[in-house]
Symmetry: C2
Subunit: 101 residues, 2 copies
């Protein structure tokens, strides 16, 4: 089945904010913002792969990320330009708070 990747403009703000309002997902977004494209497996933040898959789905369906298959892996990247265009300052603001030591 096609991965559901809606355009940001059709996603309600509350869904975008809710997607970012989780610590694990925020760590994922930070990693993607710094490291560019990343394999799902490399985004391990202390949760099971089922949970990770769930979080990536939430981010994807909020229009924040894009996923493409690459062999047996899947590469995820942040849709930064589109987010910055529709919500200028949002990602910068959210990412500005330094991750906990």
């Amino acid at each position: 089945m096609e991965p559901h990747e809606p355009d940001l403009t059709v996603v309600p703000v509350t869904s975008v904010l809710a997607a970012l309002a989780d610590d694990v997902r925020l760590q994922i977004v930070r990693a993607l913002a710094e490291g560019g494209e990343a394999a799902c497996g490399s985004l391990d933040f202390g949760v099971s792969k089922a949970t990770r898959s769930h979080h990536l789905k939430v981010l994807r369906e909020a229009g924040l990320t894009r996923t493409r298959a690459a062999g047996t892996s899947r590469l995820v990247r942040l849709r930064r330009d589109e987010v910055d265009k529709l919500y200028p300052g949002l990602l910068d603001a959210v990412l500005s708070q330094r991750p906990p030591a």
Copy 2:
């Protein structure tokens, strides 16, 4: 009891985002952004006063609003300067999406 109004700097980003990730609370924030200070009672968006009180508490404890007593009412205002200082662009981005007709 003192109203719990923490400084924004001690509130985790996820809490700020979660506070904004609700439709009723967004309507409240929009109203405050446009109309300045407002009485709680004037912020009726189709929910009971118990629910409204709950939402105002969430916003207050996220460091987004400040409340002061004024006679039998309570006046709420958005702490815009502080939010803009710590998260530049966040409120603008969030408020940019036009409220539904």
